[in-house]
Symmetry: C2
Subunit: 370 residues, 2 copies
């Protein structure tokens, strides 16, 4: 009876029971880890004024948002494509008077009108935490720690964190390795593609060594320090070292100081989270400034789909399912549910306990193995 | 720094920390109760083809849906306004081969383009369970029981369930109290408004006693049985009695046999859930047929906002918040988090433990009351 209407649009899908169970379990673990670090969950709405979603952060493109006219205000509404901007709005409005630093976390679906080249999904489950009122080394250390704790709580066994310095070129180009505005853009572009030849042609020969200050943190940061002749990066380098030291052995730390993709709105510090078994990044974070309120902040976002790839498959819980025959003892069933059994009650004599995934049947007041 | 862009559109709002915490706690309790009864959660997408959302159930109006053109297929997409239809689609497609009865549950946001007269909200958090493949008295009993268990688990102390017979007029008009098609519609309308005079004018004098077969279940069902001269309602009356008996003392049961509002797509059985302290209904359910696959089903939906009204205010958890000074012992903090403390780490010397809601401060390796 499947008709073309039953198919889902490209980039949208159902999570059926096994996957939905894994998502719920991982999401609760992540939220509980953030809660343990004092982050209070907020729940912004799915839809806002387009200008509100676009106005709180650079790099939020309205082009990919689902937009429509509000029949009430006749203004343009949009489906959220990033919850970070909503948390920034809450910090600047409803929680403007709350003491700083303000710790907020969130989990919810975001949606896009169209897929992008790298990711066909038009809906994602985004989870994250924002520390509002601080973008210091201590703030960065806390946010990276919370992100690692959240991933570990969800079940990601082996975590890597890749540090970057999003405003690196701007910092160097100011004085130490001068570039005019046009060169600056070209040098950034060539660093993004890690093209040594292009970098030379763009007048960025001095920036060449940056391409090699990448990899395992200790060696890469030493290379970066060696080429920081003017000392303009000294505080950043010291900051990265402090964050890496605090992480210790909980995650592998690497450095890619010129990485900009996904850090368009970050200031001095950015990081990408990876997990063994997942092809793409599990999440990203860093320091930034909330537009409009001009408040410093540090935060991270995780995305559920790559996170699931990094989890070991959950063991099925079928073993604990208890079949309740017609006319069963309801009090006994309630008591067994209270101690952790899942029950499946017969609705007719034809119900097949085995086909319904049950391992036990209620026999009088006690479970009996099938 | 608040601008008009920072305000939310009418009918949409943020849940700030206290409310968000209550929502998360109640939602987990409801989902865990449904899980205990063998209902597997599924997570359908926010957006589907409009025809898919409209085609699985009568009474789902596309007029109030947020609709837009899919740039990929050039077909009309819509933001879901009811998750029940999505579960019906999953049962008929992705889980068509799963053994019956199929138990599925869900929780997620639904949205509307415009508010309706009774409810200004344009977004709701809907939770529910569907028993697919059965619409018998046993199925109805199970669904009402699961709904009551879910509400009790969330913390609703005093629950009322109001039964109705959605196809009552159709059943009686067939033979026992004959009406032609036009009269039938008029009689339904007058029963909806409980207008005795209008009912007489519409030629529905025989239906007048139905208006009085309402209230506490035992008396009302006796009145209904007394006027069922032809015996066409006998199986329905017996069914309602069986469901009410199974509920026992867990909820107060009432009967309003002609209530139709919210039951446009239900077949023989419908029910509305109420809780002390909430003005409106907490949820609704009943038996129905999934359009397209023509499969019998029984289910219920809860809505979070009225549910929250029926909950006692949660006690704040501030008492357990532990301030971590700069340079604190990270291992001690991790150990305390693991046993249930929420921690709030200083990010500067200026951080005020009291203002940040902390009751204790980490002193060496142990919490000390502030």
């Amino acid at each position: 009876m499947t008709t073309p209407d039953d198919l889902l649009p490209v980039g949208l899908e159902d999570a059926l029971p096994d996957r939905a169970r894994t998502i719920t379990t991982a999401m609760r673990a992540v939220l509980d880890a953030m809660d343990g670090h004092g982050y209070d969950r907020v729940r912004p709405p799915l839809v806002e004024f387009e200008r509100s979603l676009a106005g709180r952060m650079d790099g939020v493109a309205t082009r990919r948002m689902v937009r429509f006219t509000d029949p009430d205000s006749l203004r343009t509404l949009a489906l959220r494509s990033d919850m970070t901007v909503q948390v920034g709005r809450i910090a600047a409005t409803g929680m403007a008077a709350a003491p700083r630093p303000l710790r907020l976390c969130y989990a919810g679906d975001v949606a896009f009108l169209s897929a992008d080249q790298l990711d066909p999904a038009r809906q994602r489950l985004q989870l994250g935490a924002e520390l509002i009122g601080a973008d210091s080394v201590v703030a960065a250390t806390e946010i990276v720690s919370v992100a690692i704790d959240a991933l570990k709580a969800a079940g990601v066994a082996t975590i890597s964190v890749d540090f970057t310095l999003p405003d690196l070129v701007d910092t160097l180009a100011e004085d130490a390795m001068p570039l005019d505005a046009e060169q600056r853009e070209a040098v950034r572009r060539e660093l993004d593609t890690k093209d040594a030849g292009g970098l030379r042609e763009a007048g960025g020969e001095a920036y060449l060594p940056l391409l090699y200050a990448t990899g395992a943190f200790d060696e890469a940061i030493a290379k970066l320090a060696a080429l920081d002749v003017g000392g303009v990066l000294a505080s950043r380098i010291e900051g990265l070292r402090a964050v890496a030291e605090a992480i210790g052995a909980r995650a592998r730390v690497t450095l890619d100081p010129t990485e900009r993709h996904g850090f368009e709105y970050q200031s001095w510090f950015g990081f990408t989270l990876y997990g063994e078994g997942a092809r793409g990044a599990l999440g990203r974070g860093g320091t930034y400034t909330i537009k409009g309120s001009d408040e410093a902040a540090t935060g991270f976002s995780l995305y559920m789909d790559p996170l699931l790839d990094a989890l070991a498959p959950m063991k099925t819980e079928e073993a604990q399912k208890l079949f309740l025959p017609l006319g069963h003892d309801r009090d006994a069933a309630a008591r067994l549910r209270a101690i952790g059994w899942r029950t499946v009650a017969a609705v007719s004599n034809g119900d097949d306990a085995g086909a319904l995934g049950c391992s036990h049947v209620l026999d009088g007041k006690e479970p009996k193995a099938l």
